[in-house]
Symmetry: C2
Subunit: 118 residues, 2 copies
Amino acid sequence: MDEPQALDALGALSQETRLRIVRLLVTAGPEGMAAGAIGEAMGATSSRLSFHLAHLEAAGLVQSRREGRSIRYSAVYDALSGLIAFLMRDCCQGHPEVCTPAVAALSACACPSPEPAA
Amino acid sequence: MDEPQALDALGALSQETRLRIVRLLVTAGPEGMAAGAIGEAMGATSSRLSFHLAHLEAAGLVQSRREGRSIRYSAVYDALSGLIAFLMRDCCQGHPEVCTPAVAALSACACPSPEPAA
DNA sequence: TCAATATCTCAAGACACATTGACATAAAAG
DNA sequence: CTTTTATGTCAATGTGTCTTGAGATATTGA
């Protein structure tokens, strides 16, 4: 992820509805959710929802596929991890003060623990 | 970091000049840089710079202190790591697909390696 | 084909944001 | 106390973003 992509992603995430959609889709897993179900969860009208989903898709944070009458949206995990990696890249320019607490946060995460570098 | 704070931080970072200022200040370390030096690096006029620095400070991403005639700005590392932790918290809601590549990115980072959890 | 469902598109209006230029404030030097 | 240096404030302007409501498109089933 380079700076222009990161700016697009950050811009897309800096809006309440869109941030919530992304978090919802991350928890929804690779199958994603139909637009209607997302709209219901957000309490958003169809045009408003469509606007934000299109914005997220343009930023590369979500992807869509038609499935019958509905369209399913799902998170693009690579884009999210790429953004996190971009933000953390900062900390590697000689100043671990940012990185170290992030590592601690990561350790507290319930994900499969990182392979010990050894 | 909660959602409103994260939205403020993401909004502040989703602007080219501000993102560059933050990255510059992260590399500058805890001593930070005088506003004039930042402005020179950014090629920004004083009012434009002041506008963005104020925005970043309101979002809690940078802090300032007067030092003689100049004002030094420095990164608030806790805010940055908090934002990263907030973004990664998503991945802990049952779907490690986001988290795992981020862990890999972190491992490639030149920072002091995370203490093995054991 | 007609109707129903699901979603998107478009234009309009309101609001927020970024930039500029002129001016104001604060600190130090002479 | 006046000047110089460093930075912030303010109003104006242009641009971008969000929401709304009406309508268009695509898919399925009767």
